[in-house]
């Protein structure tokens, strides 16, 4: 099972490396959002805790939606999803392969975008707490986004359908990520963000379990 998940991940990474369709579009979108907001609100110390976390997560969330749209679109072309579904694997293996790919792409973008964000707001570049929040929130986004990407790909208006389905469901992750990020950026102790980290972990687990169980129904005709 693990070998097949890695095979799907590797196939997606190789395809993305050659086309750069997902990472470039997400990166450009996220960067634009951050730059626009930083000009709109300024970059003073007074907004570090109140507004800056929102800017980071709006950029990563909406950028993420752009990329998640492509995750299953590539399988839809040339009926590749049928090719995958013909393989002797449980549908959950396909979900986990695509989930790990979505997660990897979101992390790759965050690794580039976050230091730019921290530099724009004159914050230290090394914030382990923020790294942990990004990993947990990206996992939640990828867990829900992969499922809804598979659902939306079969609809005519998939570019519109994904955000409509994805954003309401992922709101708890966005709120928890924003709330956990604020104390980290303000330099407050870990204890202040602990409850939000627990919420993030809880939602990650719930989303992954539910999505694993329902994925087969979503992709089968």
């Amino acid at each position: 099972m693990f070998v097949k998940i890695i095979a799907i991940l590797w196939k997606d990474i190789l395809t993305e490396f050659r086309t750069r369709e997902i990472i470039v579009s997400v990166f450009v979108f996220s960067l634009l959002v951050m730059v626009i907001f930083s000009f709109a609100f300024g970059t003073g110390v007074d907004i570090t805790e109140s507004i800056a976390p929102g800017i980071l997560w709006v950029a990563l969330t909406f950028g993420g939606v752009t990329g998640l749209n492509r995750i299953f679109a590539v399988e839809k072309e040339n009926s590749r999803l049928e090719g995958l579904m013909l393989c002797p694997v449980d549908r959950a293996v396909i979900y986990w392969g695509k989930l790990t790919a979505s997660f990897t792409f979101m992390l790759a973008v965050a690794i580039v975008v976050t230091p730019i964000f921290l530099a724009l707001f004159n914050l230290p570049l090394f914030l382990p707490g923020l790294a942990l929040i990004i990993v947990l929130a990206s996992l939640g986004f990828a867990a829900v986004g992969t499922l809804f990407s598979a659902l939306a790909v079969n609809t005519r208006a998939r570019d519109i359908m994904l955000p409509i389905l994805f954003l309401p469901v992922v709101v708890p992750v966005i709120i928890a990520a924003v709330k956990a990020t604020a104390p980290v950026l303000a330099g407050r102790p870990w204890a202040d963000m602990l409850i939000w980290l627990q919420i993030l972990i809880a939602f990650d687990i719930i989303y992954m379990v539910v999505a694993t169980l329902v994925f087969g129904f979503v992709v089968e005709e």
């Binding site: 070998v3 097949k4 799907i8 590797w10 196939k11 590539v74 040339n78 009926s79 013909l86 002797p88």
Partner: protein, 245 residues
Amino acid sequence: MNKDVPAAATMAIEVEGLEKSFGEHRALRGIDLTVSRGECLVVFGPNGAGKTTLLKILATLMKPSAGRVLLDGVDIWEKPVEIRRRISLVSHQTFLYDDLTVLENLRFYGKMYDVADLEKRIREVISWVRIEPRLHDRAGTLSRGLQQRVSIARAVLHNPSLLFLDEPEVGLDPHASAMVRDVLGTVSSGNRTVVMTTHNLERGLELGDSIVIIDRGKIVYQAKRDKLSKADLRQVYNRYTEAGG
């Protein structure tokens, strides 16, 4: 390979009372058929007759509304993962990833099927479909005919005992079509059971051991090939299908 095959299973495919509806539309209306091991069954029928729906159900890509399908004596929806190890599908869609090379595509599918000694097996199948010189080219840069040959290599990589061919020659020029037909002749030989859908009556009659004609979701005619000439088949096809008025 077929460790779960019941000893008594003599038929490769048994279809009983198969029905499939899409809303109000009944795509299949009670299909019954059997295919022996090693037999090549060709399914003819006009557009919308239900040929592709039948093949998609046999290939576990679609669940029927009613009826059941036994492949090698096993109900396909009781052990779908085990069944998928024994089957393969070639359609006019190649399932290939345009931005991966031919070799990368075959390696990917080989891993998904747990193919033992994968590199050796890839060398074997690419020699059958004669695509060695293009092995390191991206699939998207190949002609439609070459892509279809790679797709056939993909389909036989795990040595399936049942091969489903859904109009594999659609969209090919005569030369590419002849090449694909030649390759299909190679991979369909031996003990492999083949079910093929096609509009091409002559070609179907050449390849098939037996034929069925489907129209509006029902089998309207069934015969062994040796009982039919090309002219007979044309006449029968026209008589039994809407196309024939």
